[in-house]
Symmetry: C2
Subunit: 151 residues, 2 copies
């Protein structure tokens, strides 16, 4: 009763969902704290990047690209628009929609965040070799793709 029954050796330490959780938490902290240092929040980067990569879009479309709920996107766009990184103009072809456009200022901001994000990924993956990083990304991509765009 004072000792362990030693039935199954450390399941906890090798539990994938747990490992994923800890790693993700740490990655999130790196990104969130790093972006906070320049006055940006976690979701600014995905939104700006999605705009640059696929061009102007409605908020609903942007919400799918960046995988952020459209209700939460509102606040993010308010912040980005307040800082002039993004323009929100009504779509005259479909008056339900707004068209979100990346401004020049937003492009420069994105460049800045790009550099930071790169740094954070480097810190996060520091203990892995280049091959291991690629393999990790590959495995995670398979996982994420398999479990779908459910949101």
């Amino acid at each position: 009763m004072t000792d362990s029954p030693r039935p199954t050796p450390d399941r906890l330490r090798a539990l994938p969902s747990r490992l994923l959780g800890f790693a993700a938490l740490h990655g999130d902290r790196l990104v969130s704290e790093g972006l906070a240092a320049v006055g940006a929040r976690k979701w600014h980067y995905p939104v700006l990047a999605a705009l640059q990569e696929y061009g102007p879009a409605s908020q609903a479309e942007l919400s799918r690209r960046a995988r952020i709920y459209r209700s939460d996107l509102v606040a993010v766009l308010n912040e980005l628009a307040d800082d002039g990184y993004v323009e929100r103009t009504p779509d005259r072809a479909d008056r339900r929609r707004n068209v979100i456009t990346l401004t020049d200022r937003g492009r420069r901001r994105l460049d800045q965040l790009d550099g930071l994000i790169d740094t954070f990924q480097g810190e996060l993956l520091a203990p892995l070799t280049a091959d291991e990083r690629d393999e990790l990304v590959r495995l995670l991509t398979v996982l994420v793709a398999h479990h779908g765009e459910r949101m």
Copy 2:
């Protein structure tokens, strides 16, 4: 201006911190929803498992093993004790401490949760081969170990 400037191809989709986040979120959902089906919460399993693997412990010690804040552990232990899975007795050798002990009922509960957790890990890693699963666990373990027990 109506088209994308195509400067850097999909950085978003290959961003490790993002992939980790999505994968972890999905794993968490599987576990949380699955455990909820039998009236357990996310933290019940790690606490019970840590108790079985390393034997009775104080709450502070348990908090380190299970990687849960000792302030949050209080509520978890209340629930586990209410259901008779765990006993909380004052430590007479060190009167600051409580000694948490796994009961027989707790052991049976842990067996049940063990089966469920195994199932969830299987679902989570479904698209990966056995080798890939091992490799993923290995890479994540390196990552988590490197970034330390900071909590």
